[in-house]
Symmetry: C2
């Protein structure tokens, strides 16, 4: 990881804690960081405002790509289709399959790879972790491994020297992310996980439950205000 | 290729002759065809109007994805950056490297793969050919082979049964495409190749030169009006 040459990373980022900790981790490893987020018609697009706050705190550039027209074409997901309810329950429940947006991460990472080529960045990063693997195939190591190969093939002769993909938490848990974020001083209070949108995180959807659990397992105080008034369960 | 089950294809399409012939080819092979095009800030976005005419003639659905905000982030290409001139010359010249839009085809194909999952389509298609290979790494067989693997990995459990990629002309030439299109009755006069945009195709940019050459080599009449008044050279 260490090198005398400064590294430059393009990180696809939501407004959630995984993205924030990944950004801080890349910085800690000596990279400049460029945050790229996406409006894909998600009902929780409030996350983009939260990412902006994280970007300001970390003092790194941030751009949002407008893919809002895609929502209609990638229909049927609870995240983009208001006729499909966001399920409550645990993040790894089968019911969470309704939150899959078809090929979402490949779309985001493809665009980010193009941005990396354009900027001459030598790292393309994202914050997937082991807890994402059961439901989201586009967060699994097998996907990430293939992704590196197709980006190399599709941009042969155009990538920055030493270009590589990084997913620092790919084999770790969200509790590990909470712990590492705490060490790095990540402002968790600025991050947004809830899939339902609104102004306060619900505390009951899959990703809120997972967020609470991560802080609890890590033994890190959870600064989040949840709408279910059940904050004690997150400690 | 033959099967008792009707096939359904999502084809990424420009307004050019390769896309049009690929659409007709898929139809001839017994597929329903859905055309997906992209406004990525290309100066020749007039091609999108031409594709719409082809879609109407073929009587198939057509959607354009608005990626126009990406032009700024994928800067430096002659196709999207008006400060970079579109080069004249032959399509395979090194000068054509300036027309590469970073990771363009992977971005389009990623979105199209998501649309295919959403629609339950079992074919993802594009019209790359051997003449694209020298300059555009994201048109080469090595890219296409890896692309299939990453789409399978990233959408494990969500793809239509028998899902596959198709690029019918990947190992053929543009002259072969002209010949096949002639057999299939493709309305070449509705297609647009010119990278420079405008209202009449210039006849001198790399893709116009390649278009003329393809018709000439195939022995197929070129119905195109070129601005350089040099139509005889295209016969």
């Amino acid at each position: 990881m260490t090198s005398s040459t400064p590294k430059s990373a393009v990180l696809i980022a939501s407004g959630g804690m995984d993205s924030a900790v990944t950004a801080y981790e890349l910085r800690a490893r000596g990279s400049e960081v460029f945050l790229l987020s996406f409006d894909y018609g998600q009902r929780h697009r409030v996350e983009l405002d939260h990412l902006m706050q994280v970007a300001e705190r970390l003092d790194v550039p941030h751009e949002t790509v407008d893919l809002s027209g895609l929502g209609r074409l990638l229909s049927g997901s609870a995240l983009t289709d208001t006729s499909v309810a966001v399920p409550d329950g645990h993040y790894s429940d089968q019911s969470m399959r309704s939150t899959v947006v078809p090929n979402r991460n490949m779309i985001m990472l493809s665009i980010a790879a193009g941005v990396a080529v354009s900027r001459g960045a030598d790292i393309l990063a994202f914050g997937a972790h082991a807890g994402d693997h059961p439901i989201y195939p586009d967060c699994r190591p097998a996907f990430f491994e293939q992704l590196g190969k197709v980006i190399q093939a599709g941009n042969d002769g155009y990538l920055a020297p030493g270009f590589r993909l990084e997913a620092p938490f790919l084999y770790l848990t969200k509790a590990d992310i909470a712990r590492r974020g705490h060490e790095l001083g990540v402002p968790f209070e600025l991050t947004w996980s809830c899939y339902k949108g609104g102004t306060v995180q619900c505390g009951t959807c899959g990703t809120c439950v997972e967020r609470k659990e991560a802080f609890a397992l890590a033994g890190v105080a959870d600064p989040t205000e949840y709408a279910d008034l059940d904050k004690e369960s997150s400690r």
